[in-house]
Amino acid sequence: MLGYVIQRLIQASLVMLAMSALVFVGVYAIGNPIDVLISPDATQDIRAATIRHYGLDLPLWQQYLAFLGRLVQGDLGRSFVLNIPVLELVLSRLPATLELALASVLIGAFIGIPLGIYAGYKPDSPVSKGIMAASVLGFSVPTFWVGLILILTFAVNLDWLPAGQRGPTVEVLGVGWSFLTLEGLQFLALPALNLSLFKLAMMIRLSRAGTREVMLSDTVKFARAAGLSEFTILRRHVLRLISIPLVTVFGLEFGSTLAFAVVTETIFSWPGVGKLIIDSITSLDRPVMVGYLVLVAFLFVTINLVVDLTYALLDPRLRRGGRV
């Protein structure tokens, strides 16, 4: 087990390194690195000074090392538009996005998995067919359109929930979280629902496919032959067996949820990291773009690592040195 963990950590670090190299190449070799560091309307003197300061006239590999050095220290440059360090800016917006992503992931899991298991257990019932039809809609319909419809229905027509913005926050561990207030939850409801729909549909389909396959397996047959109740079989055998592929997809999907938050945050004016990237693209705030990319790459690698480790926890064949 320890060997597995170490192996994964090394892999993760290598990927991070590769990612940083990619971003570096993308910005410094292909793009004009100067544009990342100073605003396009700076004077010639400032440009020359910046070039010397950042060593942009040095050979590329030296620049890469300097880049890495800055990265490790957390120096991702300063935003053109807001003139605050990028790291600070991104970190200040991160809690909002995390809140949103987590809420939608929870909805996807706690509603999607049971529905999917039911659909896999009784695949020919009309309820199951309805669930599956709804799931097709769930992942076909683009997130932004769902957001639109949600706003239209709940905010405009029914006036039950607010149409945008984040609710009031409560400080926990020095960070503001809005889900801890009732009003905050109201503001969180629609965006979280919007973001969760794709995931919900995916969880339903995956759980159903997994459940169907397991229900037809010899394991279930043998359990039935031993006289186990259907409920016990579902709870102890099926759930345990489908949890492995589910967790893997879950983890990967968490990353994609963070990505799709971009759309949801734009529609609902949710002050998260996603909205930040869109704003920075439209306003050509390159340091923020670079910072966002690096951060996302880091998050991805971390998420993948966590998923791999959870996988090992769930599948005993990996733990005791057995062969899968």
């Binding site: 993308g26 292909i30 076909s140 683009p142 419809i149 971009v262 693209i281 439209t282 773009m289 991805f300």
Partner: protein
Amino acid sequence: MAAFWREYRESWIAVVALAVVLLVVAAALLAPWITPQDPYDLANLNLRDARRAPGFVGSGGYVHWLGTDAQGRDLFSAILYGLRISLQMGIAAGAVAMTLGATLGILAANAGGRIEQAIMRVVDLQLSFPAILLALVLVAVLGQGKVPLIIALVTAQYAYFARTAYGAATAERQKDYVEAARATPLPGHRVVVRHLLPNCLPPLIVVGTVQVANAISLEATLSFLGLGLPPTEPSLGMLIANGFQYMMSGRTWISVYPGIALIVLIVAINVVGDQLRDQFNPRLRR
């Protein structure tokens, strides 16, 4: 082939979906002839017709069945032209991505060893990266327009095709008849073309349909965010975005109708893809 169609017909939903797709394709192809207005020709637009409800008779003398948008475009025409763009983008991106991805996948499966590992490592890495982020970044770097958009879409999607083709080719290569074929003096690429390729096609087609739907959805999303095609050639996403601000004041048709058109197309393609997948999947066959 006939048996395939017969089995397909068993699901009436799939048949309806297929009909819808064909209808949309036909409408998109015939758009210049069946629409009362060319929404790209700015000279056609009259601001006095802007934001009018469905059923309104405009200055052109014809009925705007679906109303007009903020620039005075007839929504019906704009939607049909928008569908055209969606289909163009989706199919172009899908086709290129499929060719690129399948070639890479089969190449990897065939080459083996280090090349196989290297290619698949990159593909896997890319698969774990969400398409939308990739597309966002590429559009930001490459700028707007049809070609950059297609490049972005292809880059975001080729990995799915690569993995599918790789999986199918690897499974096929392990079969005995391929071993036998390789023992003959037939040149290597003959084996690939005549044996590996036909067996990779069914899963590729399934992935292809889903990916076309995804490409359409992705393009619409990008356009909605203002990062897609230029505003002079409004795709469905842009139409929806433009109409967003009018939703609160009750002029919902500007966003909703293009939205419905988009949804119908995407869902129909996905349903067809679902049916194809079920039919091609040997494990579900009793």
